[in-house]
């Protein structure tokens, strides 16, 4: 059975060793000014490549407003 996580309330299939960078790639989130929280805990930018996403995680990828 597929295991899902939530990314900004959208379902996404969980994978083993999935990191935040994996999620950003899958969701095509190319914007750089992001605040990421996994199950309510803030994850620093420097950890995006090695923070392992747990099963059924609730991930928030908050894009900060840009544009003039």
């Amino acid at each position: 059975m597929k295991i899902l996580i939530k990314v900004n309330d959208n379902p996404l299939e969980w994978e083993k060793n999935m990191t935040i960078d994996t999620i950003l790639k899958k969701m095509k989130y190319s914007f750089k000014m992001l605040v990421v929280k996994v199950n309510g805990e803030l994850v620093k930018k420097s950890e995006f490549g090695n923070f392992i996403i747990p099963e059924e995680a609730d991930v928030k990828v908050i894009h900060l407003i840009s544009g003039g």
Partner: protein, 727 residues
């Protein structure tokens, strides 16, 4: 003589000047950010006078756009049209304007009754004019009347002299006249940085969306560069008044021309900000290398880049106009701030560009931009994925005095009309205007400058074009209403809003028309899912427009607020607001003025002016729910082609969001249902926003609200009482 192929002679130009009037005034130091007087220039009867700024005016309207609107309100009446002599161009810097310590403090705010919306419009712009005007002793300038002959208004802030003179010999196109003014009013190369010019251009005379160019002299490039007050047709109004240039000379720039209350505090806050910017910009928005053009590929990635008149949000050729291309074309390593002290330096420039078309073909020029909006409008929206076209059209729009956003959006509309058979070669004077036709689009721009043929027609703007195409060519008015991306008469700026209801409101409920400077909520709404309910969206459509209005009261650029963020921003309660930078603004405002406001008072300052502007709209015959309605292309797929291009998305939404099972239904039925749901949602959004803003369900501020804000002037109350009694 100059560097262009068709040289001019500054001496000859100067000799042709005929002085019409002169006004002398006392030079006085500013007091905590204010000159405490405004300047009134009437080019119709050649009178010039000074008006005092009262404490009440400062308390209620704060400065900048607040002063502009107050002065404009007093100058016009409910019957004033954009071309009435009493209509004004009002320009102000704002209370914080011109401090050179913090980035982005050199903006001018321009207001007037707009040729395209016929209501009050405001537009902000860089360049040196606003700060130099204030340092010359004026918080704002009103220009009223229509001159008999071509004139120049000259403010000599060094000697306290203002002159109006006839100016028959100057060029009209901005890249030339801005340099001519430097040649004439500076006595040597060194002095040119002390000269700043406001001008429009030849196409401003023939279109309704003319822009104003504000210059600053770039000492390294030895060129007068141009920043645009683009929105609302203020260049058209400028040329209607037969003004060729408004010039200010100020040579005494120092670290504290504003005579602020606490300079040390400003220096302290600014030093910290500059450090933050240098450490983080490269890994965040990279504003210092590509400016706002970094957004092109990002918008494409999120399906937000308007393509083919906003039908779609991405295109396979976007790479041809994305930031690596601009990084390559922009000159790097030269300071590029549009006012002193701006280390964000996003005013990028293409240098040594040889023009390929038009009256200046063969001239080698420096071109400011393109910024994101221009690259998106000319590249993706018109379907011309050619950076050279974008740069060349950018140059000509600027020098001809044309708003790149309105031109791009209007051309995209015309192209869709062409592809739908509403237009054809016979109707366009032999021009094929399909998406992607760069040469033809350029020709339309040159025709607009000459005031000829179909190019001039495009200068009418989408609102008037829709009526024309129905009347002349029997076009379907509903289809044109759906695809014509204008609201209140103003063309949309360059974002696809179909998947963000909040941003549909950000555009539709913006006071002056669909410009994104009031609110940019797409990520917050569509990507982050942070504001799911109507109440959440209404709260965002209250806070952000109010917060962003404040920049206009102060003469500030918005980019340094949120295009770089402090490293610990993520850990704050509300990272989207960038709380540390908001606190910087509060602290600097207090350090300039000696006041003691907090974040709440900041919003209140804006709310007063915002509600005043809404009532001003109402006074001029607009400002109600009817005028907040948006074209359907802004809310959803107009055509079946658009529906099918994102069929899964729309089908899923019908099922999950609206509880309507699309299984087995024809595409026409699904398309129609989508429209019903989305249009209904927009009305509910209007209801929620009006309630949050303290307005009635027709979008009119209540008397109670007006009283609570302290803007219950007798004239305002009379207008509202008449309205509420007649309800």
């Amino acid at each position: 003589m100059n560097k262009y192929q068709n040289p001019y002679n500054p001496e000859k130009i100067k000799q042709a000047h005929k002085l019409l009037t002169e006004f002398k005034y006392e030079l006085k130091p500013l007091e905590k950010g204010y000159a405490n007087r405004t300047l009134h220039v009437h080019v119709g009867n050649n009178t010039i006078k000074s008006k005092p700024v009262t404490q009440e005016m400062k308390d209620v309207f704060t400065g900048g756009k607040g002063f502009d609107l107050k002065l404009l309100w007093d100058a016009v009446n409910k019957n004033t049209k954009w071309d009435s002599p009493e209509n004004e161009i009002v320009i102000a810097a704002g209370a914080m304007g011109g401090i050179t310590q913090y980035p982005g403090t050199g903006k001018s705010i321009v207001c007037g009754i707009s040729p395209i919306t016929e209501a009050p419009v405001d537009s902000n712009v860089g360049g040196y004019f606003g700060p130099y005007l204030k340092f010359s002793g004026w918080d704002a300038i009103e220009i009223q009347g229509i001159a008999d002959k071509e004139v120049i208004v000259y403010i000599d802030g060094d000697n306290g002299i203002i002159q109006i003179f006839e100016a028959p010999e100057e060029a009209i196109d901005s890249h030339l006249i801005a340099e001519q003014m430097c040649d004439i009013f500076a006595s040597n190369e060194q002095e040119k940085k002390n000269i700043t010019t406001v001008s429009a251009g030849t196409a401003s005379e023939h279109s309704f969306y003319g822009c104003l160019n504000f210059s600053f002299y770039d000492r390294r490039r030895k060129v007068a560069r141009l920043k645009q007050a683009g929105r609302g047709g203020l260049g058209t109004l400028f040329r209607k008044k037969k003004i060729k240039a408004l010039v200010c000379k100020f040579s005494k720039l120092n670290v504290n021309n504003n005579n602020v209350a606490d300079l040390e505090a400003i220096k302290r806050i600014s030093a910290e900000y500059h450090r933050e910017l240098f450490e983080n910009d490269d890994s965040q928005c990279d504003m210092r290398h590509v400016g706002t053009a970094h957004l092109v590929e990002i918008m494409d990635d999120y399906d937000l880049l308007p393509t083919h008149n906003y039908k779609f949000g991405k295109h396979e050729k976007t790479g041809k106009i994305s930031s690596p291309v601009w990084r390559e074309m922009f000159t790097q390593g030269i300071p590029d701030g549009c006012w002193y002290g701006c280390t964000m330096q996003c005013a990028k420039c293409v240098d040594g560009y040889t023009l390929r078309t038009g009256p200046y073909k063969g001239d080698i020029v420096s071109i400011d931009g393109p910024e994101y909006e221009t690259a998106a409008a000319f590249g993706a929206n018109m379907g011309i994925f050619d950076p050279h076209f974008i740069v060349e059209a950018n140059f000509y729009c600027d020098t001809y005095g044309i708003d790149t956003i309105s031109f791009g959006t209007a051309m995209a509309f015309v192209m869709e009309c062409y592809e739908n058979g509403i237009l054809n070669k016979e109707r366009t004077g032999g021009h094929e205007l399909n998406f992607g036709c760069g040469e033809e689009a350029m020709e339309m721009l040159h025709q607009m400058a000459k005031g000829e043929d179909f190019g001039k027609t495009i200068g009418l703007g989408i609102h008037r074009l829709k009526k024309l195409f129905v009347k002349e060519f029997g076009a379907d008015p509903q289809f044109l209403q759906d695809i014509g991306m204008e609201c209140k008469g103003m063309e949309y700026s360059e974002y696809v809003t179909k998947e963000s209801l909040a941003m549909q409101g950000g555009y539709g409920l913006a006071l002056k028309g669909p410009q994104h400077d009031e609110a940019w909520l797409i990520f917050m709404d569509m990507v982050n899912n942070q504001i799911p309910t109507f109440a959440d969206k209404a709260e965002a459509l209250h806070y952000f427009p109010m917060f962003r209005t404040w920049f206009g009261l102060q003469g500030l650029c918005k980019l340094p607020w949120n295009d770089v963020e402090p490293p610990d921003n993520a850990e704050t309660d509300e990272p989207a607001k960038v709380p540390k930078h908001v606190q910087n603004y509060v602290d600097i405002f207090n350090a300039v003025t000696g006041k003691n406001i907090d974040k709440k008072e900041l919003i209140l300052q804006s709310e007063r002016v915002y509600n005043f502007q809404r009532i001003f709209n109402f006074r001029m015959g607009f400002g109600t729910r009817e005028y907040d309605q948006i074209p359907y292309r802004s809310a959803g797929p107009v055509t079946i082609e658009e529906y099918l291009s994102r069929e899964d998305r729309y089908d899923n939404q019908l099922r999950d969001k609206w509880n309507w099972d699309p299984t087995g239904k024809s595409v026409e039925e699904r398309h129609q249902k989508t429209r019903e749901f989305r249009e209904d949602a927009y009305q509910k959004l209007c209801d929620a926003v009006y309630t949050r803003r303290g307005w009635d369900n027709n979008g009119v501020p209540t008397i109670e609200k007006i009283k609570s804000l302290g803007i219950d002037f007798p004239e305002v109350i009379e207008i509202l009482e008449n309205y509420f009694q007649g309800k």
